[in-house]
Subunit: 401 residues, 2 copies
Amino acid sequence: MADISIVEKLVNKTDSKIVQIILDGVGDLFTANKKSPLEFALTPNLDELAIHSSLGLADPIFPGITPGSGPGHLALFGYDPIKNDIGRGVLEALGIGLTLRKNGLYARGNFCILDKDGIVVDRRAGRIPTEENAKICEKINKELETYKDIKVKIYPVKEHRFVAEFLGEELFADIDDADTEKVGIPYKYAIAQNEKSLKTTEMINKFIDFVLDIVKSDKVNGILLRGCSVDPGLITFDKKFKLTPAAIAQYPMYKGLASLVGMHLLPVGDKMEDLVETLKQYWNEEYDYFFFHVKKTDSYGEDGNFDGKVHIIEEFDKILPQILALRPDALLITGDHSTPCPMKSHSWHPVPLLIHSSFAREDNMVFNEKSCCTGSLSRIPAIYEIPLLLAHSGKLSKYGA
Amino acid sequence: MADISIVEKLVNKTDSKIVQIILDGVGDLFTANKKSPLEFALTPNLDELAIHSSLGLADPIFPGITPGSGPGHLALFGYDPIKNDIGRGVLEALGIGLTLRKNGLYARGNFCILDKDGIVVDRRAGRIPTEENAKICEKINKELETYKDIKVKIYPVKEHRFVAEFLGEELFADIDDADTEKVGIPYKYAIAQNEKSLKTTEMINKFIDFVLDIVKSDKVNGILLRGCSVDPGLITFDKKFKLTPAAIAQYPMYKGLASLVGMHLLPVGDKMEDLVETLKQYWNEEYDYFFFHVKKTDSYGEDGNFDGKVHIIEEFDKILPQILALRPDALLITGDHSTPCPMKSHSWHPVPLLIHSSFAREDNMVFNEKSCCTGSLSRIPAIYEIPLLLAHSGKLSKYGA
C-alpha cells in the first residue's frame, strides 16, 4: 500500500469543512438491461452534481482484493489496511456496538457441537436461533460471575456467533485460534505464538474449560474462539490529519470503526432523512470533517436485491440537495467496496468516486461504474481520498519549495 | 513495485480454471493509416470477446521502463521483477533450453579479440558466424574434459555469444563481470564482490586462463563473461498461489521462465494451432492455470514487420473460439511488453489487457491500444494480473471482516 505519511506534515487546521459520503457497497456489475443500480436509478441531483465534479474509480486495497468492511473503511479514512490489520474479535465487538476497553481482549466465538470423544462434529451448532444463543450466553455469564479467576463476559451475536470480552492487565493477542476450522477432528485449545502471550493463552484456555464444564450435558456443548485481538491503537484522526472529525452512521460496525480512529459519534435516527438532519444539526459545531455512512446499498447488494439497491440510491439522491445547501468546501461520494447484486457479496471491483469542490476539475459526466472509468481522477487507491479531500478544501501546504 | 503478498494468505484451491494468454510484444504504436497492428488486424472473435470483457492497460514494471522478457514475464506471473532480478547468465541459459542445475552457476559469454598487449579490440569478435562459434565451443569443451580442477561446459548461442555452465558445491554469484564493457582497455578478470564469492571467482578466472591458453594462437583469442548467476530460487506458483500450473510455450526462454516459477511444461508443436491443441489435450488434467504463450507477435515487431504482426494476431484470432469453447472461469489476454514495429525493439508503452469472466464488468469495446485507455481496468501494474485472475475465478477470500 501507498505510504501517505507525508500528508501529516503538510496539513493545516483551517475553517473549511469536508464531507465524505460512503454509500456502502455501491459499486456493482451490469445486470438489468446491462445497467448497474447506479446507472438504472433516477438521480437528477447526483447527475447535476457529477457534471461539476471530478470522477474516477477507487481500489480499497489493490486490484483483485475484496475487502471486508474493516479494511475498506480504514483505507477510506487514510489508514493502510494491510499494515493496520484489525482483528476479527475486535471487529465483531465493534459490530455489536461494544466500546473497546483499553484492558480488553476480544475473540469471535462460535457455539459448536462435540461428540463423546471430543471431536468437533458441527462448527456452527446447527445454526441455532439467535434467541437460543442469547439464553446460552445468559446462562454462561451467570456462572462466570461466580468465577473470580478471570474477568470475562460473552455477548450473543446472530445464530451461533458470540463475542468474548476478556479484561485484565497485560493481555497479549499473539494467539493461534481455539478453532479446528473443520469438522471431524479433536477439539483444539488456544496456542500462544510467543512467550509474551503465554499467560493470556492460559487464561483463555481456563475459560474454555470452565464453559465446557457448564454446557457438557447440553446439546450445544462446545465453543470455538478465533481472532483474539486488542484495540489496534491507531493514531487518531485529529493527530494524523489535524481534523475534528464526526461520524454520522446508523450501524454499530461503522460507528465502531469511526471511533477506532477517534471520530466523535453523533446521534442519528434510523432513516435516510435522519442522516442529513444530524449533519445539518451539527454543521456549525466545531467539526471540520463528517463521515456520512449509508448502509443499505450494501445490504441490498448482499441480498441480490437490484430494485432495493436502486431505491436506496434514489432515496440518497433526494437528500443530496440538503447536503449541498450546507456548501461543504470538499465533498466526496464513494463506496468502501463493491457489492454486486449478482454476486450477493462484497467484491474486488473498483468503486465509483466523485469529488466536488471549487477546485475540482469538472468532468461533465454522470456518476456510475462506466463513466467513472474515463474521469479525471482515473483509478486510484482509496487511501488517497483523505489527501484529496484535504487538498480540495485548502488544508494542504505545498511539499518542498 | 507493489507488494501483493497478502494474496498468498487469501487464495484457496478450487476447481475453477484460469488461462493467461501472452501475445508477446503485442502492444505497438500507430503507423499504418494511424493504426496499430491490433487495430488493423481483422479479429472478429477477439472483437466479440472484448465486448463482454473488462479492458485496460498494464505496465510490466512502471511507466517508462522497457522490460526484457525475463522481468516482463515475472510481473505477469505475480513476482516482483525488481526484487527478483534474474541474472543474465541464467536467462541466457534458459534461452537455449538448458535446465538449471541446483549446483550450477551460469554466465553469459562473448568471444572477443585481444591485441598482443592484451587490450580488448573487438568485444564481439567481428560477430563470427554461429557455425564458427559452435566449432570453437566444441574445441574448448574437448580440452576442458581433460581439465579436472573445474567442472564447466560452454554452449554456443548466436554469433559471438555463448553460455558457460559451472558446476560445483557452494558457488556464489556476487561477482563483477570479466568484461571491459568497451574496447581499447586491458583485459579484465572477474572480481569477487565479497568474501563469500572469492573461491567461485578464483575458479572462474582459472577457467578464463585455461581458455585464453587454448585459443591464444587463433584469430578469436579471448572471452568475456558477464551476469554470473544461479537459480534465483523463486517460491513456486503452487506454494505462492495454490495453483497447479502448466505452461504452453514454444520457445526455450519462455519455457525456462515458466519452469523457474514451477510450471509444468506441456509438449507442444511449432504452429499456432498446436498451442490450442495442447491446451485442449490437457484441459481436463489436474491443471487449474495455463500460461499460453504466442511468440511471433514480438518477433515480427523486432523485425519491424507490420504485416507479419497483423497476420499473427489474425492467426491467433482464428484459434480463439477453441479456447473459449473450453469455458475457462477466468481468461486474460495481454503482452509481456510492447514491441512497436517502428522501433524494432521492446518498449515501455503499456500493453492492452483484457479479462473475461462471468464476474467481469463488460466494457463493450474493442481490444486495442486506444480503446483500452478508457476500459474499466484502467492502467494497472502487470503484477496485479494474477490477483485479478484469482479473484475472477473465485479463488480469493475476502480480506478482513
